[in-house]
């Protein structure tokens, strides 16, 4: 990829160093922080404990949590789709649908599978869709959050444009809090990998309290959210 451009860097940074009363620093080692309370939160909780916390925090964020196991996943997904009005559905282009035995459910419901070859038509379908279905990559117990690493196939639009989104969350992916997810990204960066261009932390449906501090659910993004947790 072509390298981008940087304008006015040295003048700008030299002035900062000057104001700080020293030369430019070319090498800084991150200190070992004295205070790291983040690692203590839910440190010793078991996967079951974390799921219980995840359930509670998700409900507090207006997300509907449905729990199932792999054997019953397809049937449960169908039930959730029906409960939320079915009709038009979009899904990310993700091998995990096949791995989890969900292709039949998606096909039965005439789901539009994200296909980059169709270009902008994907966005039109997602914009008109009632439901978007995708896999969560990491679940955060503390805040009832789904982390999604988006790319051209794991499209951002699926969790953003439809009225309702259904996130399939493997129970094994649930970690205590943002700390573990952010550290995972940090490790990718340290290993010299390219991180996803959009790493989305999503907690429930979109909302706003801008009018008289009253919480209204469903602003520009989804109005309803379902987390389908798979044992």
């Amino acid at each position: 990829m072509a390298k981008g451009t940087i304008h006015n860097k040295d003048v700008f940074l030299n002035e900062i160093a000057g104001k700080l009363g020293r030369e430019r620093r070319k090498d800084v080692t991150l200190p070992r922080w004295q205070h790291q309370p983040q690692w203590e939160v839910y440190k010793n909780d078991s996967p079951d404990d974390l799921l219980a916390i995840f359930r509670q925090s998700s409900q507090a964020k207006d997300a509907h949590v449905v729990e199932t196991d792999r054997a019953n996943l397809a049937e449960t997904l169908q039930k959730v789709v029906d409960a939320y009005g079915g009709e038009s559905i979009v899904a990310t282009n993700d091998d995990r649908f096949a791995a989890y035995g969900l292709n039949d459910v998606l096909d039965t419901n005439h789901t539009h599978r994200w296909d980059t070859a169709l270009g902008a038509e994907n966005i039109e379908k997602a914009n008109a869709a009632n439901i978007g279905i995708f896999f969560g990559d990491i679940g955060l117990a503390e805040s009832g959050t789904i982390v999604q690493f988006n790319d051209k196939d794991i499209a951002r639009s699926v969790s953003l444009l439809p009225i309702t989104y259904i996130a399939i969350v493997p129970k094994s992916s649930i970690v205590p809090r943002m700390t573990q997810a952010a550290h995972e990204v940090h490790k990718q960066v340290e290993a010299g990998k390219d991180i996803a261009t959009c790493i989305n932390f999503i907690s429930g449906p979109s909302n706003s309290a801008d009018i008289e501090m009253d919480i209204v659910v469903g602003v520009h993004g989804p109005v309803k959210a379902v987390y389908l947790v798979v044992e």
Binding site: I6, E142, S203, S206, S208, H220
Partner: protein
Amino acid sequence: MAMKIGEKPFFDRVDDALENDFMRNAMASAQDRLRDKKLDATERDDEIGDWEEWRSAGEEIRRHTLENLDYYLDQLSENFAAKGGHVYFAKTAEDANRYIQEVARKKDAKHVTKSKSMVTEEIGLNEALEDVGCHVHETDLAEYILQVDDTDRPSHIVVPSLHKNKEQIRDTFKSKAGYTGTEEPSELTAFARSQLRDVFLEADIGITGCNFAVAESGSISLATNEGNANMVTSYPDTQITVMGMERLVPTWDELDVLINLLSRSAVGQKITTYVTNLTPGVEEDCVDAPKEFHLVILDAGRSNALGTEFQSALHCIRCAACVNVCPVYRQIGGHAYGSIYQGPIGAVLSPILGGYEEYGELPYASSLCAACTEACPVKIPLHEQLIRHRENYVAEQGKPKAGEKLSMKAFGIGASTPSLFQIAVKGAPTFLKPFVKDGSISNGPGPMKPWTAIREFPAPGKDNFRSWFKEHKRGRK
């Protein structure tokens, strides 16, 4: 427009605010709710451990980052550019606007969507873009409300339309945007959704502010609730992010700590509904991501604080926790500050960014009760900085009014000369006698005027402390 709000002098703005009972009630109730939510999510939340420990973690990270600001900005810009993004270091608001105008011209942009950003408000970016023929759409609900109402100005850093009630918003939407519904917040919100959905999908450029940039990966992190920032950064081909130069963290580990401090302190949430982390990079056939990325890193007066007693003001993460506890903000509201940055942090920051001549009186909009310092999640000593500003202002770095300088000088002579001081203290009851009615003063002279304009001042007693103490000691003997 930019950072300054209104043309009236500070005390006239305060008078206007004090006469506006509706606004003051709205401020008080919003402040109570925001403060309560924050306490529930911080000191009262046992799950996260000791909140003080979190504050110390935040302070430690911010201090280190600012002390090495040149290094981390270098790293950020190199990483952003290595992935194909374009970085522009802007010394002034004008530099930043000129660069963004140029990008808009090259793209032949007509429609620009924006997510909430105080820094673009600070530099007056909307007007600059309109000057080159762009239609700028504010998409955060509060910013949208202000824009529909003939570009009213923000009164709070986190909830910019806090001074408006739902009836006012309904009337504004009706008269200016063809709304026909009721004053129900859910209906008003649904209206904004319906007005903006197509705009999001068709815009040419998406503009965001920046909660934090991550130096190690060249990423931009946005903490939002409405989904608008995701819209703004998914559909236009070009993404422009404007960041204050201090708004960055070294790595994703520190991002975690600061997002936690921000979410809990600003809105009492464990995490905001969306934390959207964007790193430049283009996949050829990707259909819902930008193809071109610009990052504008802005000084605009921030470097005035570096290496001074005000450096830690740049640790601010714009959570408004200090605003939400300030007894002065509660009474005068946001607009009275005359700056888009209000409350204690506004009174500290505005003189740094805009100078004492324009904002030198703001540090006096404080009772110095230190509630702000106690509330700050990164431990900025706000009330101490307010005192430092006052000292600088009076010591002629600013331009205090001649009358104030004269009275401070007179006080200086009086207070440092014991005999004069005694005369003043003993004479106070006599001098003030003409103003005393029923044991209090309601229309005081000179420096008492601003006080007595809004409340009674107790008349000085016949005895003063020194003479009382003398008698007291004599009595005990």
